[in-house]
Structures are given as C-alpha cells and as structure tokens.
Amino acid sequence: MLRLREISSMELTRAHLDRIEQVEGSVRAFVTVTEDEAMREAEHVDQLRREGAKLGPLAGIPIAIKDVLCTKGIVTTCSSRMLEHFKPPFDATVIKKLRAAHAIMLGKTNMDEFAMGSSTENSAFFPTRNPWDLERVPGGSSGGSAAAVAAGEAMASLGSDTGGSVRQPGALTNTVALKPTYGRVSRFGLIAFASSLDQIGPFTRNAQDAALMMQTISGHDPLDSTAMNETVPDYAAALTGDIKGMRIGVPKEYFVEGIEPGVRASVDAAIKQFEALGAEIGECSLPHTKYGIAAYYIIAPAECSANLARYDGVRYGFSARDTSGDIIAAMSETREQGFGAEVKRRIMLGTYALSSGYYDAYYLKAEKVRTLIKQDFDAAFGRFDALICPTTPGVAFKLGAKTADPYTMYLNDVFTIPANLAGICGVSFPGEFSEGLPVGVQLLGPAFGEPTLLRLVDAFQRVTDYHTRMPEVATKRKSAARKRR
C-alpha cells in the first residue's frame, strides 16, 4: 500500500487528520473522528517498527470505517438517532483483524441510516457530499467511506454492500470498491440490514490496495456461521498484469435504455481497453436481471423488518421516556421517534411481505427469482471469467434530486443488486470520466472470484490513469500524503 520507509505512522496519520480537518467542513464524510486513538495507535506502530517488529503491509495505514461496524467503546451510530450514543462492547471481526494488522482507524464514516439508501442523504445527522462536486451526492449507503478515500481523508475504508452500497458510491467517487462473495468476509459486528445480502467490502484507490485489504479482512470466523471455510488466496500475487486469454462477458441486459451516454461511453472504452490487453470479449445474457430490483425490495425489507426489531429501547440505544406504564407502548414510541422515514418504510414493506397470506406471493416468489438469477450467473460463468457492465446508470446526482421519489432512488442499484442476490463478487473501478465526473465500471465474478476481478482491474490501472485523479477539494493544499508520493 505504501512504502513506509521515509515517513512514520504518526506523520502519515497526522497528515490524514489534517486533511480531514481541511475538507470535513464541506465533505462531511465522518460521523466520528477518533483522533486521539488514531495518534496513539500510530505511535504504537512506530514503536513496534523501531523495535524491529515484523509488520504487515497495512501497519500504520490510516483507514476509515463505515459507522455500521461495531467498534469497541467507540460510538457506532449507523447514522441513526436510535444508536446516536451507542458504544458497542465488542469489535467487529473485521475491526479485530485490522487492529491485529496494526492499521490505524481514523474514525467512523457517515451513511444512509442503517445502510438504507443510495445517496447518504438518509443519514439522521447530515448528508455527505461528493468530493468531486459538493453539490452532488457521494452515493450510498457507504457514502462517507467512499468520500473519505476520494478526498484523501483516508487511504482506504470499509463499507457494507447489501444491494450496491459499496460499488455504487465507489463509482460516484472514483474509487475501487469491492463487494466480496457472500461468506468471504465475516459479518460478525456488522450491524445487520439484510443478513442474506450484506457483505463488508473495501474502498481503495487502486487494485493493489484492495488486494491488501482483502488479504486482511477475509476468512472464516467461528462467530459467523455464514462465513465460509474457504482458503484465503494470495490476492496480491494474483495481480500479474497479464490478462491475455481471459474471457469477459458483456451481459446485454445491462446495456439498456436509461444509461447516461457518458457512462455507456466509459464502459465501452473499458471493454476496448481489456480487449487491447488481450482479453476475449463476448456477449452473454442474464435474462432474469429485470426482476432483480423487485425481488430485492421484498427480500431486503423482509430481513430488515426482523433485524431492526431489536431496537426497542430496552437494553441499549435511544429510549423514548414513556411514562404511561405500558411497556409495549413505550417500545413503539421508541421506534416511532428513533427511526427515520426510509427505515420505517422498509420495515413496513418487509412486515407486509412476510404477513400470512402474502408470504407465498411475495417472499417465496422473490426467493424463486433469486434462484433464477443465480442460475443466470452460473450459466454465464461457465463461459466467462468475469462480466463487465456499468456500476450505475448515471454519474453522481445532485443532492435532493431523487429524495422525493423512493423508486427512482431504488433504480440506482439496478446493476448492483443482482450480485447480492446471487452471492457473487463484484467490483467497481474508475473508468473514463463523464463531463468531469467519475464513472464506475463494474466487473462481476463468480463466487470467490475476487483474484480474477482484481487482476483485471490492476491490469486496467497499469495502462490508465483515471484512478490516480484526485478531486480539487483534496488538492487545494499540499499535504503530507501528497509529499510522500
């Protein structure tokens, strides 16, 4: 990730904290900045290094964490009033792994409340802005983590992707955003939105850094029965630069009306680039793609309606002081006051979909669609190593542009949702810009196909420079991070 020979962890961390101070007034990527802890950890890493300890590649690297991941003793809000003051008594497994690797946690990043949204406007606290254009959204729900990396506030960050919540903000902010295979990364400590779809993934500026992040956070966890006991490969070793003969499929259902021309042009250019690098390109079909959104908006709310039932004000978090003496009324009041509109909307959708008499027509049918979508991918990956398509139909939109109509907001995830439903991996990486705004190109891979995806992205980045571009907000002043290069 960086060659830390000339710069100390403390200097590097300080530089990022300075950047945070410099840009946060406008970007607002962080809900909590843990400056003191970060500097203490950095000092510790420097100490270890002086003592000659053998440190991993992430040691001393400043990282931002989406506020959906539990951090022991550090407020973890999910950008919700419900958890505004909640301090988890334990670290998420990925946090433990990052700590063990001596990464430096800079703070917790803003998100759509409980990861429900595509713009980070659903945060109960404040919206995060896109570093490339402060009038525009950074995407969501991991908008804070994406913006932090894009604006140079962190060298890498973690987000969570339930229907595109890592890849979509990655596309809108010119970052590499990977959604791993379901079961690749432990979910223990990830505050659940939709358990069968949620997966933690990294934001970085390039494929190499993504490989290092994946190396650290992947693997089986006895605390998560859905984390698969599958060997973790050497991700960095996969980045050979050689993609000759690799087969890339172009799913025709992902190139339909409604895609902005700039996005289309960028994806086409990427396809040409891969072809130039020796990959074989061919068309394929994923016929059930069009049912993805409908299935997703049954399954995800259904699971969320149960996952969010625990917020009742009894044991932790916000509690409405109801003095009526009626416990159930007090619980209802807590939920009435503690949750925002989008969260309530999804809880109601999910409750309805699971109700007796509707279960078969909605939930069961959605699960069947899910199986069909999986089969589509299985067939495609029989012929191709990866599939290429846009991450989003358009570039970053303006704040407020889609808040009025939830459905247009939901459509933003049309190209990202199928990967979650099928449990496969996907990555969004910077392509050719469109009118000065980043465009994300998406590669989808089969289960545990992360090395393939990263090899393709790395090969692309060896011959392009889109990923090295930084937004103006991050280049106004010289910073330690720039000096280092």
Binding site: I191, A192, A194, P222, R315, M331
Partner: protein, 507 residues
C-alpha cells in the same frame, strides 16, 4: 415419583365420561441440559445467578451479533426424537418467529417452522394395564426467552428484565390430539419426563419451569368424529396440576354445551389456588408470527451416519430397563416398574446392588436385589416422600444402603435395628457401620453369654418352663421374649431358639 389421581378427580372423570369424550393434545417445552446457551457461549444453567449475570451481547440481541448453533442441543433433540420413535429428515432449518415483547431481545425468536428436526413419532404408556400410544407430531429446537419481573413499590409500577434465561436451548414436543382423559395427559407427561430424564437431556423439573406443559383440550359427544372447539390451557406447573386443570376444563366445557352455549376458542390459565381455569385471551385469528428462514444460520444437514452415532450413544430407556430388571434381578413387575419410572431411582438401585459384588451365585444376587428394592421402595421412599426430598439429594447413599443390608445379612444387627440405623443415617449422613459402632448397636451372638441369659430366664420363669414341658409350645415364644428383653433386644433369635430348646429338653 409417581403421583396418582386424587379421589376428587376420579369422581369428576366418571361424570365426564358418560356422554362426552375429552380430546387432549399437549405441547411440551423442555430446557436442555447443555453447558452453554443455544446460540452463544453463556452458561445455560442460571439457577441462583444474579439477574443479567449470564448474558452476553449475543443473547442480549446487541446490534451486529450473530448466532452460532449449539451442536449439543441439536444432538439432544435428535436423541429425544429417536426415543420418541420420530422420523429425522436429512435436512432441517431454523426460522425467525417475529413478535415484540420486552423479554425477547431480538424481537424474534429463533425457532423451527416448516422443517423441524423431527416428526411423526409416538410415545406409549400403561393405562389400566393396557398399552396406550400417543402420536408425536414433531420435536423441534428453539431458544428460551428472558423473564420479566414486575415490581409495584409505592404505586410506581416498574418492569425489570432478566435475560439469564434468554437463549437457553428449548426443545418443543408436540403431541397429536390422541389423549382421551386428563389422566392420560398426566400419564403422558410422566412418561415423557421419565424419558427426557433418562436421556439426560432435561432436568424434568416442572416446578422450576424447566419442563412446561400447555394443553389443547376440547370435548365432543361420544360417537362424534369431528373435534369440538378447543381451548388452550397454560400455567400448569405440576403433573397433578395437569390432571386437575384438564378435569376442570373438560367439565366446564361440557357444562357450557349442556347449557346450550358455545365454546369460545381461547387461551385460559390454570389458577392453582382456586382450582379453576380463567380466560386470558380470545383467539379470533391464528397469530401471525411472520416466520421466515433464519438467514444467519446455514441449513442443518443431519447425516444418517450422525443419527446412527447418536442412536448408538443413547442410554437405556425406561421400558427396556424395566424388562431387564425383571429378567436380570428377578424383581416383581411392580417393583421393576416403580424403580424404573425415574432414572435416578433405578440408578440408585443398581449402584447399591453393585457395591455388594461379587455375589456367590445368581440366587444370592437376586436375594440382595430384593432386599435393596424393599429398602429403597419402603423405608427410604417413605422418608423422602414425607420430606419431599429428591433421592439424589438425600444423605443415604448407595454405599450406606449396601452397608446397612450387609449388616443385616451378617446378623450384626436385626431388621428392626436396621430401621433405626437408617433413620439416623438419613438424618446425619453418617455411615451405618459408624453408627452401629459408636452406639454399640449389635446383636448378641456369643454362645456363652446367651447361655447365661437363658439360664437366668429359666430360673426366673418356672411356671412357663413347666408349661412348655407339659406340651404348651406357646411358652417357648414367651421365654424367647424374656431373653430378648433381658438382652435389650440384642439377642440373635436364630442362636437363642436352639439354645433355649436344648436347655428346656435337658430337664
């Protein structure tokens, strides 16, 4: 051990059975005796624990936590299902049962809905000397809830939540509506408890709510094939309560029908002190728990090899043990039944018998078996019943009882003395050997000493001696009594009798 129907319930049943038939199905919940909870590593035994001292972020339903299945609980459930002759499908899964209540930390209970661990079994028990079979619909696994404690000090009602119990493995055993009287329901519960305790999967303690029973009950005219409208009865905390509550409810339903009223489908609670059931909640529609598959847990794959291995490890069950007790130990069917109804009693019996090993031959072993059974089911049971003490918690150990019986067999003490020694050992826990030695309790078997006493008795009772010699045999008994009296009950009758006879014949 076994409770019996009270005269009161029996008369009521006679009244019930004339025109109407009672139909009962039971839903039994049993906590499992695993070391840890169902989905976390907290200890499952919360007895005497301070409130909320046996919980962690997982069983408290904190954000971000995930469940991990307790393998032992799954094995216990499969073992129970096998003991209840159930089918064990190769594929099973957990589901979320959604409802809001402050004792349910996650807002849903992890349970099993449409693919339980097992189904289609049966249980048999003896009813009036006949075998009665009750179908088992399913046996599945879920997690227990926490407990609410309602305080109302100074007019300020407060509800406190204790989550020690939340997440304790809970097995649910659902029967078919195959029982036809409250007595059958009690016998079913007794047999089921016996099996669970035998398997070592449950403490079987209804009074501690480790074993809970809800009943669905309806009545119908004899000859009618359709079921009547049922009520669900809760709060029955003992076998006796099960029988009493269902007797009351059956009679109440019949009276309603006889008065021309309809039975309202409802949940009713048994009020022990008043001996009645009271309406708790009218059920208009089936509750909607919005079950759906638990996405945090992979499906359970139950391989045939695993089932076979569990079957291999299953302990002997009550029916098999009873048969063996009769065959091996020569016990009466009644004694064998009494001893095997409760595993602890059977274990006590066999442990006591084992201490006497080796036996000269089968006859010696069976004689000892009879003695152990007599003492265990006689004096010891009487004491335990009076004091309501569990056999495992009592101060008479198998070692003590074996020692006591050996003292009798060797003639060191008499049967009468043994009763006193048992009382003392029961009270203090002291070993019979020690009691006998300390208190000098023993039989007099020294021939020289006994001869002296016989001489004294003969000298002091010339009339009786004369009577005996005149052919009055009963006088021998009188003279024996006198010898016992002089020896303060210590003289061994088997030695005294020939001595006395010999002396009397000497003239």
């Amino acid at each position: 051990m076994t409770t019996t129907a009270t005269p009161e319930t029996e008369t009521m049943m006679t009244a019930i059975s004339a025109d109407y038939e009672v139909v009962i199905g039971l839903e039994v919940h049993s906590q499992l005796l695993t070391a840890s909870k169902m989905f976390c590593r907290c200890p499952a035994n919360y007895a005497h624990a301070a409130p909320n001292s046996h919980c962690c972020p997982i069983c408290m339903g904190f954000p971000g936590v995930l469940p991990v299945i307790n393998h032992q609980a799954v094995e216990y459930t499969i073992m129970t299902a096998l003991a209840l002759n159930c089918e064990i499908p190769e594929f099973s899964k957990f589901d979320r049962k959604n409802y809001f209540y402050p004792d349910l930390p996650k807002g849903y209970q992890i349970s099993q809905y449409d693919i339980p661990l097992s189904r289609n079994g049966y249980l048999t028990f003896t009813l009036n000397g006949q075998e009665k079979r009750v179908g088992i619909t399913r046996v599945h696994l879920e997690e227990d809830t926490g407990r609410l404690i309602h305080l109302s000090e100074g007019g300020d009602p407060r509800t406190l939540v204790d989550l020690n119990r939340a997440g304790v493995p809970l097995m649910e055993i659902v029967s078919e509506p195959d029982m036809r009287s409250p007595e059958e329901a009690r016998l079913y519960m007794e047999k089921l408890r016996s099996i669970l305790v035998y398997l070592g999967v449950s403490s079987g303690k209804m009074e501690e709510a480790a074993l809970r029973c809800d009943a669905n009950i309806s009545v119908r005219q004899r000859g009618e094939t359709k079921f009547g409208v049922k009520t669900e009865i809760k709060n029955m905390n003992s076998f006796r309560a099960v029988e009493r509550a269902l007797t009351y409810e059956a009679r109440r339903q019949i009276e309603e029908l006889q008065a021309g009223r309809r039975i309202v489908q409802a949940t009713r609670g048994w009020v022990e002190e008043r001996g009645i059931t009271v309406l708790q909640r009218v059920k208009e529609d089936a509750d909607d728990y919005r079950y759906f598959p638990e996405p945090d847990l992979p499906p359970l794959v139950v391989s045939r090899a695993w089932v076979a291995e569990i079957r291999e490890r299953m302990p002997e069950l009550p029916d098999a043990k009873r048969t063996r007790f009769v065959a091996q130990y020569g016990l009466s069917a009644y004694d064998a039944d009494q001893l095997t109804a409760d595993r602890a009693w059977a274990d006590f019996f066999e442990q006591t018998l084992k201490i006497g090993q080796p036996y000269a031959d089968d006859a010696a072993m069976q004689a000892r078996a009879k003695a152990v059974a007599n003492w265990e089911l006689g004096d010891l049971r009487a004491r335990l019943n009076t004091d309501a003490i569990d056999i495992t918690a009592n101060k008479i150990t198998p070692e003590s009882l074996a020692e006591l019986i050996t003292l009798i067999e060797r003639g060191t003490i008499s049967g009468k003395q043994a009763k006193e020694v048992l009382e003392k050992a029961y009270a203090s826990g002291e070993r019979p050997d020690a009691i006998v030695a300390r208190e000098g309790i023993s039989q007099l078997s020294d021939a020289g000493e006994l001869e002296g006493i016989v001489e004294e008795v003969i000298a002091a009772n010339p009339k009786a001696v004369e009577d005996y010699r005149a052919g009055k045999a009963a006088s021998l008994q009188f003279l024996m009594g006198q010898v016992m009296k002089r020896s303060k009950g210590r003289a061994r009758p088997d030695i005294v009798t020939p001595l006395l006879e010999k002396r009397l014949q000497q003239a």
